[in-house]
């Protein structure tokens, strides 16, 4: 039985260090292998000129279309600002219990809030939100535990409040889901 795989797909001009960092740290929390994969995503198709933001659901659809490996989850990482129609912005969007998720690092940078750059904080936030969106693809919904990475965060303060780990019950669900994923038949 192989190891479950997470594919990180850069969308736009994402800082390569962020992707390298995520590939390095995600397997510390999730029993998975993590690779960076280049997959062409048509950003302009998701652009909304009036809002000057990108529709995350459209990016998600493109990621799913380009997905081949049933033993893998795919996480798109983008540096553009994402929205869904009802909300002013989203940090990310995921298919609940599905294969793909997308994460925007746009609002995770201190500079977005007019504050001096803080690389350590920025990377920590990227890690938390990546784990959070991937958690959704493993079937997790939002968790009421403040410390749990699956706690809902709709503002940067909320992101900073939670930890970069799953609580006991979310962790159990994730590990079971990953075990099932690892035993899925490989694509030929």
């Amino acid at each position: 039985m192989g190891r479950a795989l997470i594919e990180l797909v850069p969308i736009g001009n994402v800082d390569a260090e962020v992707l390298d960092f995520l590939a390095l740290v995600l397997p510390e929390t999730l029993p998975v292998s993590c690779h960076i994969r280049n997959h062409p995503v048509e950003l302009e198709a998701a652009y909304h000129p009036l809002r000057q933001q990108y529709h995350s659901t459209e990016l998600l659809a493109q990621l799913i279309r380009g997905h081949r490996n049933p033993a893998a989850k795919v996480l798109g990482v983008t540096d553009v600002d994402l929205f869904i129609p009802i909300l002013t912005f989203v940090f990310g969007e995921a298919q609940l219990g599905g294969t793909a998720a997308v994460l925007s690092i746009y609002r995770l940078d201190q500079r977005f809030y007019g504050l001096p750059e803080d690389r350590r904080l920025f990377f920590e936030r990227c890690e938390k939100e990546a784990l959070h969106e991937l958690g959704h693809t493993f079937g997790l919904v939002h968790c009421s535990d403040f410390e749990c990475v699956m706690h809902f965060s709709n503002s940067i303060e909320h992101v900073d409040l939670k930890s970069n780990a799953f609580c006991a019950s979310c962790g159990r669900i994730v590990r079971e889901a990953i075990a099932r994923l690892a035993s899925a038949p490989k694509a030929s």
Binding site: R51, I86, T88, H142, E157
Partner: protein, 453 residues
Amino acid sequence: MTLPKDKVRILIVDDEAVVRESLGNWFREEGYLVDVAGSGKETLQKLAESSYDLFLIDIKMPGMDGLQLQRRIREIAPDATIIIMTAYASVETAVEAMKQGAYDYIVKPFDPDQLEHVIRNAVERKQLVAENIRLRERLQEMELFHEIIGQSPAIRRVLEQIRLVAMSDTTVLIRGESGTGKELVARAIHANSPRRYMPIVIVNCGALAEGVIESELFGHEKGAFTGAHYRRKGKFELADGGTLFLDEIGDISLKTQVDLLRVLEEKKIFRVGGNTPISVDFRLIAATNKDLEALVAEGKFREDLYYRINVFSITIPPLRERREDIPLLAEHFLKKFARSMNKPVHGISTAAMALLQQYDWPGNVRELQNAIERAVLVCRGREIQPEDLPLYVNEARESAVGKTLAEVERQHIARILQETGWNISQAARLLGIDRVTLYNKIRKYQLKPDSPR
């Protein structure tokens, strides 16, 4: 405290399918029970079969618009919580909807933080209202008034002041020695105010260590300091919508005074370690047994805060100034403790009652209550006797026995003068005589600031 999310039923009404679906999913993922309707007509059909705690209604819909729908829902479910959804262009209509009783409104596209906040607020408020109604059903209306016992002019004036001020939102300062029942007065004001369905939060400032008062009052975010494992709401936030009672306000530090002043002016707080402002709306009632004016003069209490809290003040007289209330109070406590201890004590002997009325009760009503509790406990008959009362109450009699009226008067005046620090106006008021009469008595008894009592 909070209603579990899976018990909260939300109905989303919007003619746009994309809004219904994404908003529905968002709340479902959050754990709420969600139903959707595409029009006012469909909403009314659904209402015929089920009930909802929260309605999110789009203001602009073909056919029946949000305002009309809101009125129809109100007819069917008068206490429904309705939140209006609007686009920027129609915010004014949303404000109109709020005037007609909508709880709040949100603007499309929704700010996720605000959306979550509005819903949580609505849910918490609904929960609190439900809880307070339940509590109130158990409580006799105005019961708190009945706990303030007395027929004396002084206590009647206090009751009159409570009635006068309760319905307004005025800040009240309650003054009185310890044990006079300042908390009871605060509760009576709250219980008779429009905020009575919301909580009254009581903080004894004197009992809080300097290190914890800030997080007690303001709450804190997780990780704000060592040991802050969870985010916690402070008293200001807990009192939102209701009344905050700050007892022993004369004991707070100058730093806390500055913090408090800012909250009173801005109606906003920041949790310790937090940087999101949180709006709070509470009525402040403060109490003190200290001479605040003296503290202001000494620079220990900020003058601006003093004026901010001393808008309407109620002074509760000490028990020795309303001795005529002692029998009423004593009988009240007797009944209460005889019942709770299940003892057949039915009355207080004349001799014991005389002692109770002579004693000065420096600890006021609380001390009297304690004395009666003890008396009921040790009483072996059906009536409380002098020997059932604490020794010091008996001693007060013995010291008076064998003394002339003049001796007792001299002693009493000397004692009051000492207690008031030779403040002639205050002493005269306490003694129930005018200042000239007091001055004449001081001359007659040759009292001096260091005279023996």
